[in-house]
């Protein structure tokens, strides 16, 4: 039984701004199904006493002191910008694309 529909794949792809061909949508729907089913199996085994893990290391509270370090020079900052103006990144108009 398929739990992930082709439409759902298309929607998530759109949210992530990934362009997919029709055949890719079909293939990924199937692959994601397998992943979701696998996770469902794990969920059956995991009891409420098992805390959710977002990180493989048994660590917490890794903090940095609030002490400044040198910033990246502006030339380096803008080195990868396709376009820059007045020390800032120039980007295409924002609302027009929605």
């Amino acid at each position: 039984m398929s739990t992930i529909s082709r439409d759902e794949v298309a929607r998530v792809a759109a949210l992530a701004r990934i362009e997919l061909r029709p055949d890719e949508l079909d293939r990924l729907a199937g692959e994601l199904d397998v992943i979701v089913e696998s996770i469902a199996k794990v969920s059956q085994v995991a009891t409420p006493e098992v805390p959710a893990t977002s990180h493989p290391l048994p660590m917490s509270n890794v903090f940095r002191p609030d002490v400044p370090e040198p910033a990246l020079p502006v030339d380096d900052v803008l080195a990868g910008a396709p376009e820059a103006e007045d020390g800032r990144f120039a980007v295409p108009q924002i609302l027009g694309e929605e």
Binding site: V12, L15, A16, R17, A52, S54, H55, L57, M59, S60, N61, V62, F63, R64, P65, D66, V67, P68, E69, A71, L72, V74, V77, L78, E85, D86, G87, R88, F89, A90, V91, P92, Q93, I94, L95, E98
Partner: protein
């Protein structure tokens, strides 16, 4: 253009429900996840690191001071502090978010379930329930080029400065605020103002509204009656002054009432507030929460504040604004209404500093709420922006208390200080305003006055002291007001020999 329903009419027929999200930029020296120094007004893109630019491979590390500040805020808002919480990625595409996600907190905020008692201008107190306070980072700043006056609509392209990207933020979210009726705008304003005062008292942020240190998003919905289910809400973004918060709520009440009256439904959406015209306009349709595809941030480990640490922070909290106000009112002996007027006039800190400079609370209030309030109003400035300091008012009152000048002369001294002639002492000396206490000089003025009004002398000799005032007035005139009236009276009576 949207038709509006008159506000008073709207709140008679509908029950407004508020929800307020306030973002505060923390005043840490560095950013939330990287050690780039934060300083207001730096040149564009001079305060970034690979982390705040979202460059590949860059790894974030949490600023411990920012966590402490977030806990301080949580405790001040009577919240529970999580024993364990995580950061999450909020995914969306916008040029001011260089990583294509904002590092935030989702289902595990650091603080939750709190409340804040908010006092309105007339003394009414309304309790606002706090849903949560969570840690996140600010976005960069877009400047729109072309189009009308830098507005996003009609812009040709945008320029992005990432100095602000990654500055630590705490977002405080209320539960639905109900039961406020026609006072919804005032409650919204008073709540944001109370938060601003708390941020300052806690020393976690400069909390300057005009710099965008504190920004409010105001959710509003209407329902027919207080027991009806919640209506559809709109979220008006980035309302950045107290007055605008109040106006935006009023506007949305009137706008939504008109829609409901027409039998239409309110669209759930983000709206933009326009300071100049005082209206809101439609922004993007609000995304469902799942559209952000939140998931736990894999590059950061959980934050687990020990109970010892939390208690240590609690013990170190300063006196909060409300308690501070109550204590001062007790110490100063002001009536409730007097205290409210002082707070509403923005004179509390000024009076406190004036009292600290040696003035009595009554005299400090008299100056700031009287003569100085009048001058501020006349010049259309805030009290705090007058060119005189609480220390100078304290000094001025000291001169009055010691009898070197009187109240009337004190006003002339005030003129001098406000005109930039120096401290009160300096002005008194330079303008020669010190009270004439030399009896010889006073006596010659008195004799002159007595000679001019022989009928008064007769009356006083006959046992009627009432007309003495006329002689005192004449003497004050001769001495240009610089005489001690009490001493003049004594000398007159001595002279007449009654």
């Amino acid at each position: 253009m949207t038709q509006l329903v008159d506000y008073a009419d709207a709140v008679r027929r509908f029950d407004p429900v508020l929800g307020i999200e306030v973002h505060v930029e923390l005043g840490t020296r560095t950013k939330m996840f990287c050690p780039a120094e934060v300083e207001f007004g730096g040149d564009p893109n001079t305060q970034t690191t690979p982390v705040s630019l979202g460059l590949p491979g860059a790894l974030p590390v949490v600023n411990g001071t920012a966590v402490e500040y977030a806990i301080r805020i949580g405790l001040a808002l009577n919240c529970q502090i999580a024993e364990s919480c995580r950061f999450a990625r909020k995914n969306y595409f916008y040029p001011d978010v260089p990583k294509n996600f904002q590092t935030s907190q989702y289902d595990e905020p650091i603080a939750f379930d709190g409340w804040l008692d908010v006092e309105l201008e007339d003394g009414t107190v309304h309790r606002v329930e706090i849903e949560r306070a969570h840690m996140e980072e600010d976005a960069g700043k877009n400047t729109h080029v072309g189009g009308a006056a830098g507005r996003i609509h009609g812009a040709d392209y945008s320029l992005v400065d990432y100095n602000r990207a990654g500055i630590p933020l705490v977002e405080i979210v209320t539960k639905p605020i109900t039961g406020v009726g026609d006072r919804a705008p005032e409650v919204a304003r008073a709540y944001v103002q109370a938060l601003r005062d708390i941020f300052r008292a806690l020393d976690v942020s400069e909390a300057r509204m005009e710099r965008g240190n504190v920004r409010a998003d105001v959710n509003l919905s209407l329902r027919a009656t207080p027991d009806a289910p919640l209506g559809t809400r709109t979220e008006t973004k980035n309302v950045n002054s107290f007055r605008s918060v109040e106006r935006a709520v009023r506007y949305e009440v009137s706008r939504q009432a008109a829609i409901l009256d027409a039998g239409d439904t309110v669209v759930q959406e983000t709206r933009h507030w326009h300071e100049d015209t005082g209206i809101t306009t439609s922004g993007r349709v609000k995304s469902d929460a799942e559209d952000y595809r939140y998931f736990p941030e894999p590059d950061l480990v959980p934050v687990e504040p020990s109970r010892e640490w939390v208690e240590e922070i609690r013990a170190g909290l300063p006196e909060l604004p409300q308690a501070h106000r109550r204590r001062l009112q007790d110490e100063w002996g002001y009536a409730d209404a007097e205290m409210r007027d002082v707070v509403n006039a923005g004179a509390l800190d000024l009076i406190e500093a004036t009292v600290a400079a040696g003035s009595s609370p009554a005299a400090a209030r008299k100056w700031w709420m009287g003569e100085l309030a009048r001058r501020a109003k006349q010049d259309e400035v805030e009290l705090a922006d007058l060119a005189i300091t609480p220390a100078q008012i304290g000094e001025l009152q000291g001169l009055v208390d010691s009898g070197r000048i009187n109240d009337k002369i004190a006003r002339q001294v005030l003129d001098g200080v406000l005109a930039g002639e120096g401290d009160p002492e300096q002005v008194v000396v330079d303008r020669g305003l010190e009270i004439v206490s030399d009896d010889g000089a006073l006596l010659s003025a008195i004799d002159e006055a007595l000679a001019a009004q022989p009928d008064v002398v007769e009356k006083v000799r006959g046992g009627n002291q009432g007309p003495v005032g006329a002689i005192i007035g004449a003497v004050m005139k001769t001495t240009k007001g610089q005489a001690d009236a009490k001493r003049v009276r004594e000398l007159i009576l001595e002279r007449i020999g009654s």
